[in-house]
Symmetry: C2
Subunit: 329 residues, 2 copies
């Protein structure tokens, strides 16, 4: 059985949506057992079916706006997030799903789970939506501000194994974020990465990708250093937010009226909500001795159940061991 720890208290609508999401995930994944960490009385308000679900009582919470995530974790060892993470280190669970604060989850994963031997750095890998309704993996969205080409190769390899095992992509394509498409473009780091990635067999390197294709990059993984990729993620969000504002001004006035509102509530609105950098959804933290999936803070039951499904798929397909084996070679 796949054993997952659920941070039932993290998220804008916790524990209700987390508990309901857990029950949905149980139905959809017959090989999964869940432990819900949180306030038992609160959880029981929404838990209508205890099949393959256990509750562990937590104490204290991690504030979503916490400025010092390391301190937040250290001073809240019995919070639902910290207990869930610790349960992976102790071997009680294979992975964690949390809608809690991203920075606290990253810091907590480092402190309470620890690093996979073969990965020299951890990384956070959100899924960025594309215009055709799909998504790609963005690396590294905030872990490492400075990094070497070798570490980026490890991260890209991890992402390629993830794309293959979890998303079913046979030969994942990896692109390097750069200011031009020609080889030789960019900073020294970019040139080194280009050369190193050109020689690898771990994935299909498609070369440089300019961010003017950022919602339609033609690859499954888009990589840069943690500073640049974080800027890219926030820039997508900022542009979507800004254009949304203009569109709203434009189409709620005059002749457009109600039709405009309908448009905003449609696919574009959904797209925008998937694009919040503060609130990355479906992101996996790479490089840990356990599976950690960050579900969106604003997750409702179905969205959260998809996060659990994602974590279960990663465990089921033995992604961490495959990464470990590949990188040891």
């Amino acid at each position: 059985m796949i054993k997952l720890a659920i941070d039932a208290m993290g998220g804008d609508y916790a524990p209700k949506e987390q508990v309901e999401g857990a029950m949905l995930a149980i139905k959809a994944n017959p090989d999964v057992v869940l432990t819900l960490y949180g306030d038992e009385a609160e959880i029981r308000k929404y838990l209508t079916n205890e099949e393959r679900i256990t509750i562990v009582q937590s104490e204290g919470t991690i504030d979503m706006g916490e400025k010092d995530p390391i301190r937040a974790i250290r001073s809240n060892r019995n919070s639902s997030m910290a207990l869930a993470l610790s349960s992976v280190r102790s071997g009680d669970n294979d992975g964690v799903v949390s809608s809690g604060a991203t920075q606290a989850l990253i810091a907590g994963s480092h402190i309470l789970i620890g690093r996979l031997k073969a990965m020299k750095r951890t990384a956070i890998a959100p899924l960025i939506p594309t215009v055709d309704g799909g998504s790609y993996i963005l690396l590294d969205a905030g872990g490492n501000l400075t990094i070497t080409a070798e570490y980026m190769l490890m991260q890209a390899t991890f992402a390629a194994i993830y794309a293959k095992e979890v998303q079913g992509i046979k030969k994942p394509k990896v692109g390097l974020i750069n200011i031009g498409t020609e080889p030789g473009k960019g900073r020294d780091l970019d040139k080194e990465v280009f050369e190193l990635f050109s020689k690898t067999d771990y994935f299909d390197f498609i070369g440089n990708v300019e961010p003017k294709e950022v919602l339609d990059p033609g690859c499954d993984v888009l990589i840069s250093d943690g500073f640049t990729a974080n800027i890219v993620m926030k820039c997508i969000e900022g542009t979507a937010k800004g254009l949304g504002k203009i569109l709203k001004q434009e189409i709620t006035k005059g002749i457009f009226g109600k039709i405009g509102s309908l448009i905003l509530k449609g696919r574009l609105g959904k797209f925008k909500s998937r694009l919040s950098a503060e609130d990355i959804g479906g992101a996996m933290i790479y490089g840990l001795r356990g599976v950690v999936v960050k579900a969106q803070g604003s997750s409702k039951a179905y969205g959260f159940s998809r996060g659990i499904h994602q974590a279960a798929t990663i465990v089921r397909n033995d992604v961490l061991n495959k990464v470990q084996q590949t990188l040891k070679q």
Copy 2:
């Protein structure tokens, strides 16, 4: 009189729109005389009023898609762009306005005009539209991939003087592109810039700005190194392009029909067309011994006349000397 060189052959609709734009600019700026560089016979097809306009015959053209901009300039010394730039070095003109290829214009400016003594690096500074219909100066959109904090201070000071003298902003606000708003965020360069900018009197430093505010940054100048700022510019374009595609799919189908098309042709469409990274409009190249303004390649007469107006305002307000004096202190 203010003497400006016009590259009449650069641009998607050259020389027609450039010639008509020149005549519009002459009307709006009584203190300006223009020299149009290009094919005289072609220019005369559209020139209906020669008041304060001279024509100088050019030979050869610079291809918009030229991969090697330095060679393009070197092997086309008599092209309209090269002649216009050379006329600034020789003192015949105070500045140049061109809708030609951005990279060729930057390379040509270096080779044919040369650097201002007080500026150690040149920079390209496009105007990025904001949600409220205004704009801000983005630095450096592609000149210097690696740069020091001191050079960034020079560029920001140039931009602040530009904002004051050309845009009439009393105490221009400058923001640093970063991955978080708190002091201490970012790479070593960002921390150094933060410290250096905090001590300056040249402008009002508002601190770090995250790109999730990229269309509404709350400042007049947004700065980063040439790699990051170029990525930001292209990412805004890519997101706008991607969302435009989704919106188009959404609103041209079903019940929305024609109303959808109207929306796309409105302010949003205009906004998108202002956002092409390949085709920066209203961008000044900083750090040269002359005024060089890049008008959008797709400029029509009015847009091009605004580029001429912009160059005239820069000359009229003696921006280059003010920069030189300020940075010499």
